[in-house]
Symmetry: C2
Subunit: 402 residues, 2 copies
């Protein structure tokens, strides 16, 4: 940023002592989360806070259930006195839920970000009444919460991943999920239990956040492409999700590829989804879409099927063309192929890289800046669960005081 | 942002009393800048700070030369005691400089954002040695500073607008300015006076910032297109310039329009600049590029010249195609046609709007969200001068204490 970032409170107004304490709680918890086990003295050394301040902050974090303190010094740190602080793996937790086109999912992560409960069931959700689908995912979530409780975990927040548009100011509204056939669905209107209604979020956004939090690539600004039935993308900018003015950023699937190309159900022509979307690739490969079409494409391509290889190469070129626009506009550190694309990366990457090399020419663009996600189709659900854990690390006062 | 913004110090570390005071100085100065004249009591009422705190902060801001306090209450505020605080229009100031392809410029603005000195001279800069061009703009800047000193203004920062790429971490490097023929030029290496070396910045970025600070449209997230010899764009996101991971964001001119289109000097094919850039439009209109080509195009189009109208319509369609990608990816509140495009807006807007209407279909996109800039070709120089003034408003401790 050319314009210097200024110190600002969470409200944008004047800074107060409470704001300062909240920030310092987050600094201490974030430091322990990043490098635990640490002693109180270690934390003082790493943060620049006084030992007295650290002790008061640590006591509050223990009281809120975010930290635990072991009786003995961490092993391998001979000579350093003090007890070992760690992020609590038996206390606060996040629940992630997912409604996909062909599956439901639930996941619980602890504050360390470890998935402790993981459930995924196949379901044909497209075209079914939203209320019925939501009741089923709510039941799956309740089972996951019960299992987590048995592990000593207490769910502090619930997030629902959906393949649809979730406006910034929608207060829990899913405006449109075309591949489910949902319009203006509000989970709160259908949830069986008012106390456990989840916050909906676009699955591509959550996949990108999971990639940022879990992958060890170090890029702070990247575009994450996520394909399942449709093609979505999300941007992480300086470590924060970029949602756009109204929450509609990342519609990579509707970037125009050919001025007079194939008509798209969205109303435009020549959109990327008509060349690199699941239905287009299956059609080009001469395959039917039953079962798991991604696994089928990978199997055929792995066996050297010419039509499948040609279809994936064509999809890769279209994707590279669209991503060249994204790179020229946004200047990310990296591009990540996530979702189903991660499983097809062997066949997509060469064509995508060739297009990027030809079209991103006004700046250096190393081919390795494009890479597949290690999370693949697990990313969105994991991101939904992690969101709560990361929000607590960023502001521990979200946790009740014991 | 789905992930809650957390209170953070300017360093990202623990918050201190000094950070708190710096933020509160900015809150008080920003409040007076937005609504002056105000009394100290007004400021306390508007900010929620105590009167004692406001008095201490105001005294410091007066000491730093940022505020003045008149002897009497502001008129029209009968019954409210207290003297009137205003932002100082005789103290700290910002100097903007510009090297264009065919001109040089210098501008001084006061802390209120008013341009007090404005100079622009025609010069053919393309292909001349960078050192000579920089010496000339330095001389123009020194004249402007001298004139400003006569008005009681003291220049606190200097920014140089250039039609080129300025990397984030380049420490004053202009990496590449293709239309000037500059590669790896560092103004500090050529500047006659070490104390007045300006910070270089891309002209499209500065045009976008000027638009944000001066226009009264209220969009916090928008894309500003700026055309002179080339086509640049810049994004303002939540009121902050978005520069990308390395400072290369906004290369709208090299968004691909046709997969197999015209070769572009950048090395790619079918880039927007080959359809909507100045040279392409002049060629299509059958015109030579001498004198002021933008004025010539506007004159011909105004006179109904068929070839010129056709060339502008074609450029507008290409621009609309590229902007559809930008809207689908970034989801801005608005799009602004700045630079030379502002002067050609009457003939460009219909085609741009038609393409956007056809291609931005997955969300509402009102035609009036695209509008011409009122600043036009003045934007970049004004933005260069305003940058210093805005940085001071954001952090008044940049000013020395008297």
């Amino acid at each position: 940023m050319a314009v210097g970032e200024v110190f600002r409170s969470s409200e944008g107004g004047p800074a107060s002592q409470q704001d300062m304490r909240r920030q310092n709680l987050a600094v201490v918890l974030g430091t322990v989360a990043g490098q635990s086990p640490l002693s109180r003295a270690d934390v003082a050394g790493l943060t620049g806070l006084t030992r007295a301040a650290v002790s008061s902050l640590v006591d509050e974090l223990i009281g809120r259930g975010a930290l635990t303190e072991a009786e003995t010094a961490p092993s391998g740190r001979v000579g350093r006195p003090g007890r070992a602080l760690s992020v609590n793996d038996r206390g606060p937790a996040g629940l992630g839920l997912e409604v996909g086109v062909t599956h439901l999912g639930a996941c619980v992560v602890d504050l360390r970000g470890e998935p402790r409960v993981w459930r995924r069931v196949e379901r044909t959700n497209a075209g079914r009444p939203a209320g019925r689908v939501l009741a089923e995912v709510a039941a799956l979530g309740a089972e996951a919460e019960a299992e987590a409780a048995g592990l000593g975990l207490r769910v502090e927040g619930r997030v629902l991943a959906v393949p649809g548009v979730v406006p910034n100011a929608g207060q829990g509204l899913i405006e449109h999920a075309p591949n489910l056939g949902w319009h203006a669905v509000r989970p709160a209107d259908h949830w069986p239990e008012p106390d456990t209604v989840p916050v909906p979020e676009n699955e591509a956004n959550l996949g990108a956040l999971a990639e940022y939090w879990q992958a060890e690539h170090g890029a702070e600004t990247f575009v994450h492409v996520s394909a399942e039935a449709g093609i979505g993308a999300a941007m992480v900018v300086d470590g924060q999700l970029f949602r756009g003015a109204r929450g509609f950023a990342g519609e990579l699937g509707h970037i125009p590829i050919h001025p007079d190309g194939e008509p798209c159900p969205c109303g435009s022509r020549g959109c990327l989804e008509q060349y690199a979307g699941e239905a287009a690739v299956l059609r080009e490969a001469g395959l039917a879409g039953s079962g798991d079409p991604v696994a089928l494409l990978a199997e055929r391509a792995g066996a050297g099927d010419r039509a499948t290889l040609r279809a994936l190469e064509r999809a890769g070129r279209a994707l590279g063309f669209a991503l060249a626009s994204a790179v020229n506009l946004i200047d990310p550190d990296g591009l990540v192929l996530g979702g189903a694309y991660a499983e097809l990366a062997d066949w997509l990457l060469p064509a995508v890289r060739a297009e990027l090399a030809a079209r991103v020419t006004v700046r250096p663009w190393p081919p390795e800046a494009l890479r597949p996600s290690a999370l693949g189709r697990r990313g969105a659900l994991l991101g939904a669960a992690l969101l709560t854990a990361r929000q607590i690390i960023g502001d521990p006062t979200r946790l009740p005081l014991a």
